[in-house]
């Protein structure tokens, strides 16, 4: 068996053949650069400081066939319905193994000039909308990034011109699965919010079936002056899958970027969430919640790059780890010399539900300006026994008391989500994922 790097480089020829005329597009030049990059670099190991606690060798032990080189199963609308978040209005886009499904999507009416759809189609029909951003916001940091770019083919394109506001959120279902081959699914997402524009995206990553697969994503986000972007990722891939995503945001003056990162699934999960605050009066909020059990490994690396003065960033990552699961949190904040009057806050809190769960948490603040307010904090603990006693002293069984405390712990992250029905559905997923007794809400009695 060839090693994975050789395999992925070798498979590129098959991909090019399948592309037909599309190899003339600007995208292909970028792919060819990525091919060179991948040839020159190796996949990270634990010797690499950025990957110290996350061993990716299980991912590299098998060769996943890029989705573009294999066939994908057909899903009906009924079949995908159970994967969707419901009870609110949204524009729906569905990607199966990273490739847009026209039949399953229901985008609906959009404001004039707004493009929400397939990156592949946008690259063909309106390349001028994306050339200025594609692969320019994100730089290749590692071999996984190069691999995504090498096979960059499809994904979400959301291009909102100046002054346009999307009233409804966009729900993007990324359904990933292996059928004949073990599949490498590589969504490549581009979100561009013009000046004074506003949009909200729910990135809903789901897995299907019992076989292994590997999802390797890059999401680029450009938030222009005074634009507001909410990107809410809810990842519930299969327990056997591997999931890696890099989000790179670039923000301009007075813009707001809210990133929510909720992790349920995946055997090995790695998120790199990066924002460059490249102008004044920018706001960035990162909210994370990771729920892991079994032998799951969940690694969140965040990086907030304060390049200019008078900006604010706030980060809250919370996790609940059960069984033999392992968490990693690395929160990097750089405040450059120019970035005076920066406010940067970071918190990471983890609850361990078992004696064998563990987390490595590391704040990494590098401050070169002298007039800033920065703080960070990390706590690791167990469910509070006094609180548990309080609840059970009212007649509530201990398992349900624990569920209530888990719910209470997750609350300050869940509360930040703006779509009410989505909160409820995420709460439900928390108990389902951790195999915990569910709390029956009493809202009807109000």
């Amino acid at each position: 068996m060839v090693n994975s790097k050789e395999f992925y480089i070798e498979n590129f020829k098959t991909f090019v053949e399948k592309l037909n005329g599309q190899s003339k597009l600007f995208l292909h030049e970028i792919r060819k650069d990525a091919l060179k990059q991948l040839a020159e670099m190796d996949f990270p190991t634990n010797r690499n400081e950025e990957w110290k606690y996350t061993n990716v060798s299980p991912i590299l032990k098998q060769n996943f066939v890029p989705a573009v080189n294999t066939s994908a199963p057909d899903f009906s609308k009924e079949e995908i319905n159970k994967f969707l978040f419901n009870d609110f209005d949204y524009h729906l886009l569905v990607f199966v193994n990273g490739i847009f499904s026209e039949e399953l999507s229901e985008i609906g009416a959009l404001p004039k000039g707004v493009v929400v759809g397939s990156l592949n189609k946008t690259a063909k029909d309106n390349p001028q909308l994306i050339t200025a951003y594609f692969n320019k916001i994100s730089k290749t940091d590692n071999a996984f990034n190069a691999l995504n770019t090498l096979y960059a083919f499809d994904g979400l394109a959301a291009i909102v011109p100046d002054g346009k506001v999307l009233e409804k959120p966009i729900q993007v279902l990324y359904l990933n699965t292996s059928r004949d081959d073990l599949v490498l699914s590589q969504p490549r997402n581009l979100i561009v919010a013009g000046k004074n524009s506003q949009l909200s995206i729910i990135a809903n990553y789901r897995g299907y079936g019992e076989k292994k697969y590997f999802t390797n994503i890059i999401t680029e986000v450009f938030v222009d002056e005074r634009a507001i972007v909410d990107l809410c990722k809810i990842q519930n891939e299969s327990d056997k899958s591997y999931h890696i995503e890099k989000v790179q945001a670039h923000q301009k003056e007075k813009s707001v970027f809210n990133h929510y990162n909720i992790t349920f699934g995946g055997a090995i999960v790695r998120n790199d969430i990066n924002s460059r605050l490249d102008d004044q009066n920018i706001e960035t909020h990162y909210y994370g919640l990771y729920l892991a059990g079994g032998k799951q490994h969940v690694d969140n690396h965040t990086f907030i790059d304060h390049a200019k003065p008078n900006c604010m960033s706030n980060e809250l990552y919370k996790g609940i780890l059960d069984d033999n699961s392992r968490g990693v949190f690395n929160g990097k904040i750089i405040v450059h010399q120019d970035a005076q009057k920066t406010n940067a806050y970071q918190q990471n809190k983890t609850i361990l539900l078992s004696k064998t769960a563990a987390i490595d948490t590391k704040p990494q603040l590098e401050i070169f300006a002298d007039d800033v307010k920065c703080s960070h904090g990390a706590t690791v603990g167990h469910l509070d026994e006094t609180s548990e006693f309080y609840i059970s002293s009212r007649g509530v069984p201990q398992e349900l008391a624990k569920s209530m405390l888990i719910r209470a712990f997750a609350n300050d992250v869940i509360e930040t989500i703006k779509i009410e029905p989505l909160k409820e559905q995420i709460n439900h997923m928390i108990f389902e994922h951790l195999h915990r007794v569910e709390i029956v809400n009493s809202e009807e009695s109000r």
Partner: protein, 260 residues
């Protein structure tokens, strides 16, 4: 109703209760008074099953059942209730969800059907009125953003909702202003009936101006050193705790005599 016999308990290896004997009958209100560190809160926590406390010897019988063999939730379902000195905040869980869960667990244990939403709502309205509580409290998260006084009032509200047989009030008066003290006491007085019992644990006498006890016990260094009627509380208020300690030996003999 409740019979405590020669109860010893430790916290973090330190002996706090050193042989407590106490009999509480249906329809009675007892007050346990004592200086800080005398073991008042330990007694309340031990009776309701807080696992941070270790019972080293003794017996507690509740309605003819061995209380110490029960976990906290079973004690609650059997009819025990502790109004906490420091009530816990539970973000994300509304008072309605919390109370309905508790109430239905208790009813299930007794073989009673769950309350319908209307029955539950009517019960809330009735009990909230007693305490002058705004009904909107019910949709707020348990104790989150409540002032000290509101938390204490919410404890009494929970007590009224759950209708236990035996209610323990742990320093419920601490942190209450005089108006809140009146409201809370009024709730307790409405609660007390011929078929239940109350044990008030307090440092100060002032709560006992409003909740008149049938018996007052003085706790010192983990033992009840003096018992008497409600006038004992007034005496303590006047003279402090020191005078009793001197007659300690005397009292324990007297206690034995009373029990017979």
């Amino acid at each position: 109703m409740l019979s405590i016999k020669n109860l010893y308990a430790n916290v973090e290896g330190k002996e706090i209760l050193k042989g407590i004997d106490l009999e509480i009958k249906t329809g009675e209100v007892h007050a346990v008074m004592g200086p800080n560190g005398s073991g008042k809160s330990t007694l309340a926590n031990v009776l309701t099953g807080n696992k941070s406390y270790e019972i080293t010897s003794g017996e507690v019988w509740f309605e003819g059942k061995n209380l110490l063999e029960m976990d906290p939730e079973t004690r609650a379902r059997e009819g025990m209730f502790l109004a906490f000195q420091y009530p816990i905040e539970i973000p994300g869980i509304s008072n309605a969800t919390f109370l309905k869960t508790a109430l239905n667990e208790i009813r299930k244990y007794k073989g009673e059907p769950e309350l319908t939403p209307k029955e539950f709502l009517d019960l809330i309205k009735e009990k909230a009125k007693v305490l002058g509580l705004d009904e909107s409290l019910i949709s707020r998260a348990v104790n989150v953003g409540f002032s000290g006084g509101e938390k204490k009032r919410n404890e009494i509200f929970q007590m009224l909702m759950l209708e236990p047989k035996f209610a323990l009030l742990d320093e419920t008066d601490s942190g209450l202003d005089i108006d809140a003290l009146r409201i809370v006491s009024n709730g307790v007085n409405i609660f007390r009936k011929s078929d239940n019992a109350v044990l008030v644990v307090t440092h100060y006498q002032r709560l006992l101006d409003y909740i008149i006890p049938d018996f007052v016990h003085v706790l010192s260094k983990g033992r009840i050193i003096k018992s008497g009627g409600k006038e004992l509380a007034l005496e303590l208020e006047e003279k402090g705790y020191d005078w009793i300690k001197e007659e300690e030996v005397d009292t324990s003999t007297k206690l034995e005599a009373e029990k017979v």
